[in-house]
Amino acid sequence: MKRSQIRNLIALAAISALALGAAGGWFAATLLAVAENPAFFWSGSALIVLFVVGALYAIHRFMRAFLLDVRALAEAGRLLLGPNPERRVVPRGHPDVADLATVFNSLADRYVELQGERASEIRQARADLEEERNQLAALMSELTEGVLVCNLDGQILLYNRGARSMLDGDGTSYVGLGRSVFGVIDRSAIAHALEQVQVRYQRREGEAGARPVMTSFVTASARGRLLRTRLAPFANQAGDLRGYVVTLQDMSEGIERSSRRDALLQTLTERMRAAVGAIRAAIEAVESFPEMATAQRHRFQQVIYEESQSLSAQLDQTMRSYASDLRAQWRLEDIHATDLIWAIEHHLADRLHCEVVLDAIDDRLWVKIDSYTLVQGITYLVMQLQEAFAVVRVKLCLVAVDRHAALDICWPAEQGDADMWGHWKDRLLVTDDSDGVVTLREVADRHGGEVWFQYDGAARHAYFRLLLPRASDQESPRTAASVPAPALESRPEYYDFDLFHQPGQSPALDDRSLRDLTYTVFDTETTGLTPGIDEIVSIGALRMVNGRLLRQEVFEQLVDPQRAIPVTASAIHGITDEMVRGQPPASVVLPHFFEFTAGTVLLGHNLAFDMRMFQEKEDETGVRFDHAVLDTLLLSAVLHPEEESHSLETIADRLGVKALGRHTALGDAIMTGEVFLRMVPMLEARGIRTLRQAREAAQQTFLARLSY
């Protein structure tokens, strides 16, 4: 019921009361005129007053019961829907109204209960989603392949560590959320691939059970690595293409390896052809002219001898080159002592029918080895023992010796023959799991271990001892070897699917919401406060996309100021002459930083100073930082014009941002970013929503009129 209606009712009641009073007066006057009895007059008047008061009270009760109590009920309802869902009404007044209030309270209880349930469901769903995202992020970061997910504009929505390590150029191109994939992969290659998959995707539509569309190409990264790139599109439920997944594989190493092998094979073939050619020609000459002079015959024999020697040397050389090439791929893995012994034992029994006796085996021991090759090496050794000494039984020991594990292969022997070792250690007979051929010596070397022969005269047995590395974590090597659990605090911010809804970079920045913009938050440390004289010693920056500070996408670089850093400055930021020695100068760093900031709004605290420092370098670097900018100092003055201090510490304190790593460029940049994120809703409450509005508001503050 509206206030005006209530007022009308009160007026109506007052008029009714006056009318009643007038009627009562008229009635009394009539009685007086007839009886002229004073006693009757007083009692009549009292009656009238009583009547009027009674009427007024009745009206009051009526209004309270049906108007005011109902109004309070409505007010409570409004509060309940808005800021205070705990608000309840005291049931009073007319029983009907009180009953209504009770029902109202029950409804309110139910409402609060439902709201609580819904909130907890949302929380649960969020937590589930978050967990899934964390798992995805952890999974992605473990992949050796690079993965990028892009929308059709080429904006990167997700990437993993692999992609970044393959594609990040040396300060010339960056992988980052919201950045363009064309900055790191050739635009025409992507465009061509995309065209192909789009055509195939459209052709495929409607076909049942069609294979996923995918295309691949080879591209070179900024650092000259060859990358095999696969591109697969993905669509929303309606079947419209929304973006594509790019997977990257570094082929360079494989190509290098196979071309090394090709070269090796070719050289071997050519040298063998030459040597065999010489041998064959010599033999045929001798055969064709059996009556040739002895001296001539001797020359041919010499040729045959020399060339066959050269052939053997060539073969050995090739084997060695091949083996050293293989060594690069050897994999050392943790294995439990008993598992290793079991493998050796079974291999010896199956292959050589050799009896194996187990002696001291430390079953708490873990070793880090290439088990296949080791087993092969030991099998070869025992095979030689069988041939040389008719050994039918060997004894195995595996115990810890300091930081190593000692594996002994013992056999009974009447005397030691140290020369034997000389024969065996370098023979090329062990085949490893890549069909490579290596020596026993190399088996030990590849484990970073040692191998030697020893004779124990007292026990009358000889043994080979292999020293092998122990697994690093003796307590729980299995855990050490397993995939590390994702650390939630340091979860990489490698994805942002909200970028799907990002309107690209096309609309003018000015009219875009402060929340949608991509920022580079940065800070510099300098040798002092006088632009033109002082120099930058450090730049720290990170990107902020969709209201998230991306701590993985940072730029942090010391800069050689090419002048001495005053002690007073070092005292503030801790950067000394020593630290900047050998670092690149501003003329190198600023163009890289410029690349890093491409397409973003620059955000800083008191950034006029930093911009002025950049400006001083314009002629030298050839880059002009002409980005849109926002300054948290000025925005703070917009929000709190009455406050005197707008230093970063003060604002951070005011807004409840914790100070971390202050007075490092990156630390200050992070803090500035956090301060800004808290300012955005406060600015919005003042109607400042777009970049243009924020800039205009900042310009109007007094502080903006002071500049460098």
Binding site: R273, R280, A282
Partner: protein, 131 residues
Amino acid sequence: MPSKVLIVDDEANIVISLEFLMEQAGYEVAVARTGEEALEQVESFNPDVVLLDVMLPGINGFDILQHIRQRPRSQSTAVIMLTAKGREVEVTKGLALGANAYITKPFSTRELLAEVRRHLGVSEDHETLTN
């Protein structure tokens, strides 16, 4: 007047046999061990047949072949590539540059001699290696 054979190879051990066999076959033989020597010998010795290796110190066999083919006086000179480079692309290259034959090492000395004779247009009657 015997036909002249120039052997171009830097591997002494193959040169010994080639020189011996060619001499026994009744040819006048000259030997060059580097690319530069080979070019000089082509000028001064003016061979009828060149047994040409590819891998040589200095100028390689393919370049020497091209030089011979561009030289008016050597139009009738037969060039037999005799080399350890046996990949198909190399054979194709040698023949395309104008080699009369491309023989990869190791080779049969009998077939080599037959090839030399074939290019000199000498009849089977002169064969000295028949057993």
